[in-house]
Symmetry: C2
Subunit: 380 residues, 2 copies
Amino acid sequence: MHFVIDRDIFVQNVNHVSKAVSSRTTIPILTGIKIVADHEGVTLTGSDSDISIETFIPLEEGDRQNVEVKQEGSIVLQAKVFAEIVKKLPEQEIEIHVQDSFVTTIRSGSSVFNLNGLDPDEYPRLPVLEEDHVFRLPQKILKDIIRQTVFAVSTQETRPVLTGVNFEIEDGILTCTATDSHRLAMRKVPVEKNDDELQFSNVVIPGKSLNELSKILDENEELLDIVVTENQTLFKLKNMLFFSRLLEGKYPVTKNMIPKEAKTSFAVHTKAFLQTLERALLLSREGKNQVINLKTLGDGVVEVTAITPEIGKVTENVATQGLEGEELRISFNGKNVIDALKVVDSESIHIAFTGAMSPFVLSPTDHDQSLHLFSPVRTY
Amino acid sequence: MHFVIDRDIFVQNVNHVSKAVSSRTTIPILTGIKIVADHEGVTLTGSDSDISIETFIPLEEGDRQNVEVKQEGSIVLQAKVFAEIVKKLPEQEIEIHVQDSFVTTIRSGSSVFNLNGLDPDEYPRLPVLEEDHVFRLPQKILKDIIRQTVFAVSTQETRPVLTGVNFEIEDGILTCTATDSHRLAMRKVPVEKNDDELQFSNVVIPGKSLNELSKILDENEELLDIVVTENQTLFKLKNMLFFSRLLEGKYPVTKNMIPKEAKTSFAVHTKAFLQTLERALLLSREGKNQVINLKTLGDGVVEVTAITPEIGKVTENVATQGLEGEELRISFNGKNVIDALKVVDSESIHIAFTGAMSPFVLSPTDHDQSLHLFSPVRTY
């Protein structure tokens, strides 16, 4: 294998596939990046067996020449040191040349690296997926979905299925749900499909995969194809394939958890309410319990308080819009509500309570495509 | 105590004194910030007994009113939570009012905090220093001195005196030296003095104090007074006093360590040489030893190499100016030389060797006010 490549585009692609490489793998070959050069361009692959990323650098794009392949071939190089080396090379042009017994020379300007490579034939093949179940989303929308749900997945391995986000399509609507059993985040979007009949449920994508995918996605309207199979999913971008395994197990049915009616409700400015809770959390966090209390007062005002006896107390009155229903005192995990408020893009939110001991719902006032559910905390 | 203060100026001052407060102190009162309000303004103090910082906020500055003191008095409040609270308060005006038994109300807009304070009479008094030994430096110069020396102090407590930077004045020249016994960084500047006769030596300021001081210093030409006593030093800025204890013990005499003559020497472009060593370190770091090798070739060229047998090898030829003297092969700790190159402000540096087993000197080519010394590493 022997090729000359543009440093900037190479660095970008090496960084992308590196996201899939774990240094803690028990399979030595997976600590490497597989590089294949052929008559069409250069293909890079990284994998930790949960996530696999493949990117393709074509010989040229528009007027720009990316790569000149002098001899086809392939090699596997240690991902961590290789990614650092290409980033620091002195010149715009990088020459990569595999010598005998997988030793690979990387040359740029007066800098010459010789790295011990690994046999590319030992690198596992990526799965070939049946593309029966495919739908389409703009990159930006998928990035939003991930941002607005993935923070709520469980970090505990006691119920592995809760460490992922559940994807479902019914009647042309994609519903994505994450819950750690104390809070739930849900986001809906209409999908563009290849097949109008597409329906599926219980497709649970690991939170870690979605976080890595999100770093690669751009904030643009470009559509990407999402392929779903029994135990794998594939996100197809221009010149990039992102594979993730799916989590096994039955995701809980969350639809029925969401209360339909409210006993007490109000609307409030999202950012102001977030800042109020952040101030309150300063005190409850010191007490390690993160509990914030909310009480309805008269005249559309609610009182937010937090107490840690050794340190002190904070009280703040918040003006709401349309406070109605029963009087209420409730306590909740302030950090969880803050996490949700941070991902709400709407200017104001609506909160609906069904009593001090029942879950409550937070949702934007201007659309019904997202929703957050919280269990209250018992304080007596 | 009762006053109303501008949030921005208060936050800035609370942040400054917080730098002296350690959460790991064994003296409970020192986890707090002392606040004193009197007819001149508000004084804040933080201390961890090694470093003490006192700042003063005058009632008004120019046209701007900072503080309105309604009742004089003092209090001690937990530094960590107090600093976070004032930063997050909603309005530009903050009211602070001490109630019974040291409970302190902090009010801003609709936000009301009640914090349990501590008895200000229990807060230790700051030392009153004899101002016999005083000299003056522009803030920017002191910031440069710290940046160019403090990285080289020892992090090991086996020889405590080496964890500080040694300040000496002789013939109107301040010399600051740091060494961990493998490398040494030295910076000289002429000082403006109150007293032309001022001379001192073995004033060793802890590296930690200098790092905190550096965060407070501005990049400007404003002069600050530096007071030196037997076991304390005091940096006097406008509206701020920064005290540090000095390290006990005899600082090694470093003057004689610096070789006067060279057997091999060359000059090289600082940034290009830094980048060459950073690339070489990528490989030697993987081998955990950080060793980089340098060899003189013909025609003013030196070869830089690093090897980690499991990973690979890097070779880079560097063009030098004025390479002269004996042929040389030498190995050194690459990280140490990189640290030094990063703080050199001059465009090119001169390196002077006295053989493969003797210390070598790195210095800017355009002035003689700074110098770095390194021990070589024995590789066979």
